[in-house]
Symmetry: C2
Subunit: 344 residues, 2 copies
């Protein structure tokens, strides 16, 4: 019935009456290069197929020093943005003959480092990394070990690395401009308290948009919450922003998860969107389409993001001394009713 033992190169060689080396050459397409007679090559291939030969990737990788594996380090696979990215990376990698091993870092630099080490030990050929705060050292480490990596979505402007990201500044700026144009003049932003560049950029874009429109800014309108206690803090932030006297009429959520917390709270409080509070959000998910009032959101080009990251990494693997690439994609603002023209 089914073969009990794995079939090896040796078995094929035996049946074909040739050496193991020859079989290896032929099955790796190096037959011509190594002057193997056409008929012999064909017969070897036929035998391999007949015996259903499956190469042992571990042995291959060990000897050749190449595992055809990419390590993907993301914040959290259960976040739809990253799940989608993972999906795209997976497909694109397979297209290049690579397999992906991913892991979630939970925005924790230590976890991220652990993960990276596990993957290094598994001899991945390179990494695609969504960086966390305080992870600059990891990148230095990787570079010192000559391990290739491409940063995705987030990066450190001071460190010269390959990166594929969205122009977070522009996205936030556009969001602010859009709200201003729609007649909102007291605009708040809820962000994570973070030193990460992409977060800072979003804040900067927001502030520049206010400035550009001559809109007032108040400290209480810029709420930065901690990652681990985000839910409660978002709720408090919304309360604070809406305090009588300096209540906002619009808010930008700088992240998908913040938006989810926020929207739930807004529902619970019975706040009318956009009449009482207009909304624009980063991130991207079915939620925004199906929310009571469809939500205006920043649409990132996830497809290009993921594919480009893989492509850069793969081409870097083929030619490691290629020069550093920084791809910055523009985001599109998808305008919905949650930021409809203000009626007042």
């Amino acid at each position: 019935m089914a073969q009990k033992k794995k079939v090896l190169l040796k078995d094929i060689a035996l049946k074909a009456g040739v050496s193991v080396a020859l079989v290896s050459y032929v099955l790796n397409g190096k037959g011509r290069k190594n002057r193997v007679r056409k008929e012999k090559a064909d017969s070897i291939i036929a035998i391999a197929k007949a015996m259903n030969y499956q190469p042992n990737h571990l042995a291959k990788s060990l000897r050749s020093g190449k595992s055809f594996t990419i390590g993907l380090v993301i914040a959290d696979i259960s976040n739809p943005f990253f799940a989608n990215i993972a999906r795209i990376v997976e497909n694109q990698a397979r297209l290049h003959g690579y397999t992906v091993i991913y892991g979630s870092s939970d925005e924790d630099a230590t976890k991220s480092m652990d993960l990276i080490n596990v993957l290094i030990n598994r001899r991945v050929d390179g990494f695609i990394i969504v960086s966390t705060e305080k992870s600059e050292k990891q990148l230095e480490y990787l570079r010192s070990q000559h391990i290739l990596f491409v940063l995705l979505d987030r990066y450190f402007p001071a460190i010269k690395t390959d990166v594929v990201s969205t122009n977070h500044y522009q996205a936030a700026y556009d969001s602010g401009m859009h709200l201003a144009r729609m007649g909102y003049s007291r605009i708040g932003l809820i962000a994570y308290k973070s030193q990460m560049f992409h977060m800072k950029e979003r804040v900067r874009g927001y502030r520049d948009a206010l400035r550009k429109n001559g809109l007032p800014f108040r400290k209480k309108w810029l709420q930065e919450v901690n990652f681990l206690t985000a839910k409660a803090e978002v709720e408090k932030a919304i309360d604070t922003m809406r305090s009588p006297g300096f209540a906002v009429d619009a808010v930008i959520f700088s992240t998908y998860s913040l938006a989810v917390y926020g929207l739930k709270y807004i529902n619970r409080m019975g706040i009318q969107v956009p009449e009482e509070l207009a909304i624009v959000s980063f991130g991207q998910a079915e939620v925004f389409d199906l929310y009571a009032c469809p939500v205006t959101y920043v649409m990132q080009d996830m497809d290009t993001l993921g594919k480009t990251a893989v492509d850069i990494l793969v081409s870097k693997m083929d030619n490691p001394k290629q020069k550093v690439q920084r791809v910055l994609l523009e985001a599109q603002l998808v305008k919905r009713r949650s930021s409809a023209k203000k009626i007042s």
Copy 2:
């Protein structure tokens, strides 16, 4: 600065003045068993630490025949249900010292088989599989090769395999019962056209609930749509179900993706939920909380689902002749306004 070359067992052995074998024994905790002197063992460990030794997992796996890797085959990582499952499996596997390699099958048996083969070649120690239609052969194949696997969420009742799943029949039955109890009497179901057992079970549960309540059933109320053209078919299905004369007053979506298509269409058509149409859905996501009218849904115990699958697989690896386990979890119906008591 940083070491250029990877440090090997050989390097440690050299520095410690012992053989490579001894180092291997010690670092694998087999020092005592192999009668290594305590002080020597300690010094070896110290040296290894000082040199920041990182074992080559490929070599380890090749030699020992164990890769400490689990293959996870799911339908689509960008579906929140599977993304969450992936997350849980990842964590639980790491707890046992395993790494996860996942891949999406897109509900396609061929893709699933390809994926499984890639992972076999990478010498995963076992699989956790969310089966697709017509994939029975794959399972036979795996078994014939003595490759361990556990089925997750879906299974084939005729094939005796380890499985962790939800009681889909009960979940659907409960959904129907709930709607009936809330006063709905013309209940429809939108499902995928599939021979998969879990889908059939959902249909069976739905029909039994109708029967139990003496409610009428009409062919047009049971709509089965094709996977690849689901969006358009769901919309047509809703139209059909609401045709004058035998319009439903409630509908059960048997899947997250079907619900998303359906809800979008319901929004577009301006159908009032639950006044004109009550809704219960399978799947689980933020969407259901944030939808204009919070949606009643079947809550599966994803945590137990994922963890148990890993646990069974790992214990099976330790002892392959363990007897087959079938874990069937009960689902909880989370009741929301979308299925509120009918007013008529």
